[in-house]
């Protein structure tokens, strides 16, 4: 982070205008956060997955379905992270 002392001073003197563009920029990204609901829908309705078939490697559906949500949820969270990243993050 090559922020110099001068940069910081500048931002201190122009604090509120300095904040404004960054905050607006973030706001335009906010719709991405709705994606975070996807893992909740996938996991909080047990009737979707409360069955033995189809099995995978001898493991009933109930178990491998929920374990499969680990990478799926990581993918969703990672996408949100990348899309909502601020300019300096």
């Amino acid at each position: 982070m090559p922020t110099t002392l001068v940069d910081i001073r500048m931002r201190v003197f122009t604090q509120s205008p300095g904040y404004a563009p960054r905050r607006m920029e973030r706001r335009s990204h906010r719709a991405w956060y709705w994606l975070l609901l996807i893992p909740l829908v996938g996991l909080l309705i047990p009737p979707i997955y409360n069955s033995e078939d189809p099995e995978l490697f001898g493991m009933p559906f109930f178990y491998w379905y929920q374990l499969a949500w680990v990478p799926l949820s990581v993918a969703v969270t990672a996408l949100v992270y990348v899309k909502t990243r601020g300019p300096r993050e």
Partner: protein, 539 residues
Amino acid sequence: MSEGVNGLELAIVIFFFVLISVLGFAATRWRRAESLDHLDEWGLGGRKFGGWITWFLLGGDLYTAYTFVAVPALIFGLGAIGFFAVPYTIIMYPIVLLAAVRMWSVAHRHGYVTPADFVRGRHGSSALALAIAITGIVATMPYIALQLVGIEAVVKAMGIEGHLPIIIAFVVLAAYTYQSGLRAPALIAFVKDSLIYIVVIVAVIVIPANLGGFDNIFAAANEKFSASEAPNDGINLGSAATLGYSTLAFGSALALFIYPHTMTGVLAAKSRNTIKRNMVALPAYTLLLGLLALLGYMAIAAGVQPIGDDVNTIVPVLFNEQFPDWFAGVAFSAIAIGALVPAAIMAIAASNLFARNIYKEYLKRDATPEQEAKVAKITSLVVKAGALAVVLAIDPQFSIDLQLIGGVIILQTLPALVLGLWRTIAHGKALLAGWAVGMFSGLLILYDTPNPATGQEHFGGSQYALSKLGIDTDLTMYTGLVALAANLIVVVVLSLVLRKLGVAKGEDETAPEDYEVEAGDPGVKPVPGAEGEREPAPG
């Protein structure tokens, strides 16, 4: 095990224990600050942990040894219900991502060390902050005691009787926590997690192969549950258990985030970005936990019998039977160290709460940062002694019951913490009233919950039968969420009434942009006494 103490296993466990004790004391010098006599240093490790350290620290913090022992034990006993730990620790991250980064920002802007510090600054109410602090301390204590239950399971499996090992372990743990603060568990977490990853990966490859694959394992489990009389067990959920399963997963995810020790881990990170990246990377531990959970079924298939009537011993016994002694020793070390890391972080979190929100707020208002840090260090010793006394003096079942209560009551601090992170109508007085209603109703429901299986009349579980509300159903729901619903209704209604009456809110020292600042932004407080690395303070 009646054949006596296993010397090789014991030697390996002692080796790792000595190793981490040396690390714990040496941690004082790690990323050394000029002085540890400040809560930001002792209690938050200087607030400068980067991505990897935070990942290990939060992993060691959230996925405790007790989880690693108790979740397979639950699966062993009841089947599918125990698997709730998997959805619970998946959905936690997307749920808390937004709240965690906002909490990080506002805490760094204003120098908050504890969740109660934030409540005090945001809602301008020291009564509400005291309620949050006491709830946090009370909920954390049994959680620490449970870590001892995890260690005891390992000790029993090695054939050792008596409490001497856990007394020694806790005295040494207390000494290096006192000395090094949060740096100790952060450093030890590297060893703990490396061991746990190795053990679990080996276990889920070797043991299923020994037992003839997952088909056989699940078939054996199915046979056991079909033969049993209990209505709730099985390798799938009974139809009456589905709502209980999802509400328990959801409520536990909310509760885990607002436990004081989670906040400690979050606030110790050096930037907002570190937290965000960790919310993406932490579910790696959930995969581990899910695989570990299945050890419960493997224990059934292998015909494991728990030692005495302590179901928590099934994983250590399974390791004993399936692994050569030296590797069982490594596995036991992993579980035992896995208990010490979260116990240390929890004790530090409870001590920070006491020093900041009780001692400084009520006992000695002009306390210097040195005095504050000193009080926190001494409190951490008291907290550990208390947890030890609970486990030694009282039936371990009691600490499990207390932990159950802990989860329900910590959830009642959620409105004050989380509603405060956004601009909401929530009024400080309404939050306090909601907290009181949530605590009362939660405790009342728990008291009113029997457990026919163990013959307990009260505090028999955390599932509330909805039929008690007069609804014609056999569904149950997680008690913590029932109480939280009552809490939130009071908060919303009372806030609206207070606004209508024109009662002023408490003074709010935070500004909307405080919740979005990143490290290096103007106004983000540098840590007193911290060296280099960070950017120069503005102004």
